[in-house]
Assembly symmetry: C2
Homo-oligomer: 246 residues x 2
DNA sequence: GTTGGAGAGTGTCGTTCCGACACCTATTGT
DNA sequence: ACAATAGGTGTCGGAACGACACTCTCCAAC
């Protein structure tokens, strides 16, 4: 059987001939709090991995783009919208989900801590423990609140520890050549706040003076004229400035 | 219906309840020739996009990992194996394939030009034209041989122009902090060859002296003692050295 | 209301890294 | 023999960065 035109070919095409995997999205929603990276996790109420903590996610609708599926998961499962979202990596180990073959497209999202709604459903903020330096990569650990500190390590469902590790690796890499830290802060912020965000992401202290110089020279920040309050001399509040065409 | 154990849940799980997309892989196999980036393309013999040029690819088997599917596509469609392969990005626009919903996981592979077999099937080497600078991103153009130069622009199937653009963007980015150029060269190579590869990838000339200093100081290269031949003074042949644990 | 602490912001200095240039060396081609 | 071609070394100047010293501006304790 041959088809001379693309139309006749498409009319005769049978999409059900091959066994197809399920496709899902999982979103690592990252934020910075108390100079550390946190993520939003949901405790699973159903099998598989009942009781373990999982990233917000869901199956991709048959007429829905991947980005739309990620935004929907964030809205429905985490209660947030209008945040920075970026595709990370696709995980497809055949046995990663015991139910059936599920390929998951992992996303990273960044949000100001003040906008995270941990009251939504069974959502919990968990502190990330990164057992490697630089951009080595690998799985990370998650700790939930226990008493007055985040030191109770919890089990992560599926390969979500690996997904979170990929998110940390990605954001560390992006920070070198992209002004992405402001996505984790309110609209107006001080240089100190921005440096704390960078330090939390990179997991190491940064030189204060050099950080100031580099940031101001980048042209990405715009002084607002307003001043912060709190202990010490009030600091200039900056706003992220969309890079003008060069 | 509740399931107290994970086993009973899995036994009752019906994987066919949701409509599932097809999942494929597509591989941008890149090489450097005459100080320019090239890729391997296959002219499509069937609809859709019959006659257009496409990346080697194929559907992901139901029990096959994504990396395995990419390696299989390279072996069956391009006739190469044992090359550097890295996952790039997953493209899932609902209408990207007119047949049915197909989500494709794009891969990038790098190979020494001497190892590319353009005789395999209807495989053709095509020169890449990158209409943007730096890591701006976007689609790229492909040109096949016409007479004695590569200047006949060809149509690329599906969103493969975008996939190739993502590959160029990725390899440009990796080159800054990863010694990846040697993947496009034979085992032993001169600093000049390596610099030409970098220039082809980045699309701009590089400072000769600075390049030498940076490369030798990186500790990634090992002198073999052998010398190249050809016009001019013979050059030291280097080998890539696996970075020792620090 | 004076004083000390905390943190913002500025200026300077030395080191390191990189682009640029000069110059020498080794081989091939005529 | 000599030019052409290409590898390899040394040096210099500017830019970027870490480090440090110092000043400024608020809050709070006394």
């Amino acid at each position: 059987m041959t088809h001379d035109t693309e139309e006749s070919f498409l009319a005769a095409y049978d999409a059900s001939r091959y066994a197809r995997p399920s496709v899902s999205v999982d979103v690592a929603l990252l934020t910075v709090r108390d100079a550390a990276l946190f993520t939003l996790l949901l405790q699973r109420e159903r099998h598989p991995h009942r009781g373990a903590f999982a990233l917000p996610g869901g199956f991709v609708g048959i007429d829905e783009s991947l980005d739309e599926a990620a935004a929907r998961a964030l809205r429905d499962k985490a209660g947030v919208s209008d945040v920075f979202v970026e595709q990370l990596y696709t995980f497809g180990r055949p046995t990663r989900d015991p139910r059936t073959r599920v390929i998951t497209v992992a996303y990273m999202a960044l949000i100001d801590e003040a906008r995270v709604r941990a009251d939504h459903d069974g959502a919990t903020l968990a502190k990330l423990g990164v057992p490697w330096e630089g951009e080595t990569g690998g799985s990370v650990d998650a700790y939930v609140e226990h008493g007055d500190s985040f030191d109770e390590r919890v089990e992560l469902a599926f390969d979500h520890a690996e997904i979170l590790g990929t998110a940390v690796k990605r954001i560390r890499g992006k920070l070198r050549y992209t002004p992405i830290g402001f996505q984790l802060l309110p609209e107006r912020f001080t240089l100190r706040q921005l440096r704390r965000v960078h330090e939390a992401i990179l997991g190491r202290p940064m030189n204060k003076d050099s950080f100031r110089r580099t940031m101001l020279a980048s042209g990405d920040l715009e002084a607002t004229g307003a001043r912060s309050n709190g202990p010490g001399r009030p600091a200039e509040l900056y706003r992220f400035q969309k890079r003008s065409a060069v």
